[in-house]
Symmetry: C2
Subunit: 198 residues, 2 copies
Amino acid sequence: MTYLKNDPDRLDVTLKERRSLLPFKNKVLWFTGMSGAGKSTLAHELENSLHLKGFLTYVLDGDVLRQGLNSDLRFTPKDRKENLRRVAHVARLLYESGIFVIVAFISPYAKSRDFARKLIGSDFIEVFVDCPLEICQQRDIKGLYQKAKNNEISNFTGISAPYEKPTDSEIIIKTNKLDIKQSVKKIVDYIEKLEDDG
Amino acid sequence: MTYLKNDPDRLDVTLKERRSLLPFKNKVLWFTGMSGAGKSTLAHELENSLHLKGFLTYVLDGDVLRQGLNSDLRFTPKDRKENLRRVAHVARLLYESGIFVIVAFISPYAKSRDFARKLIGSDFIEVFVDCPLEICQQRDIKGLYQKAKNNEISNFTGISAPYEKPTDSEIIIKTNKLDIKQSVKKIVDYIEKLEDDG
């Protein structure tokens, strides 16, 4: 009777074996962009499309995580870094479990995005949801830009905190030039090409 | 062109829809018990069995998470509570994504286990991996009990920190009385009965 912990002979189930149960090869699509650029909307529309194709998907939404796992964190540079560190680890766990992960997360710092990329490896795909600040401010669905300008919110990306534009994203979606359908199609085409290439 | 965030009309993919892609109804099996009781071994053996049945599974192992997501935490009561809070949230995210989640985690506090149970809901199944402290100490695979007795490790469950025995676990596995095969069978039988009951 052996109840060895960390038994070197133990054969744990691997991602490769999990993928044998699934009709797709999972990835981590990491959406970065400013508030109002369209990350969450695009992430969920993409999820709907992929789900209809039989992909098992999950959207990690920055706003939603801040109500749960990351509810102890604020918007200081230090907390933003910790926020992203946790999301990157959670994305990796979901990825290892076989899920096609879609992350919708401002992720303003290049260093933090690089951390996520390294943690996840070659299946990490960065999607820059690119939209001019003026248009994000015009949309201002939740009135956050107005609050930031009135100093009611501090450390707000684009107003009182930096957004370091990505320079090497695999996919760029200009949401002021493409509509949602076109945006989703561009990403799905990219994914399907990867599937075809194996 | 609408890029609404938190659009109330947005139809997000639900767990129910994800389950329609999978040949099983996923749960969260939460293994609690002292170091050396056999949680990790049992969790991975169970995972192997379920994987062979076509279940998409993932083991959240306390020791492994402490090297990644929870690498900033120590073993003080406060940090243990935070450790468990995060694991419960991660278990829930994996669960919502459709994964059959197996958590192997000392989880010494009844309050923290209750937190996880409430967060996850009716698909939470607690498995008490029950083994007398003397036998855990005899096994002492990683030499941790010896170190704890020598005061080289502080806050060690069973020696210098409490373990609050569960009183209402759905499944109890006495690893000093059942071998691994019998233990796994007991749990698989429980899960299959749930599947049959719908």
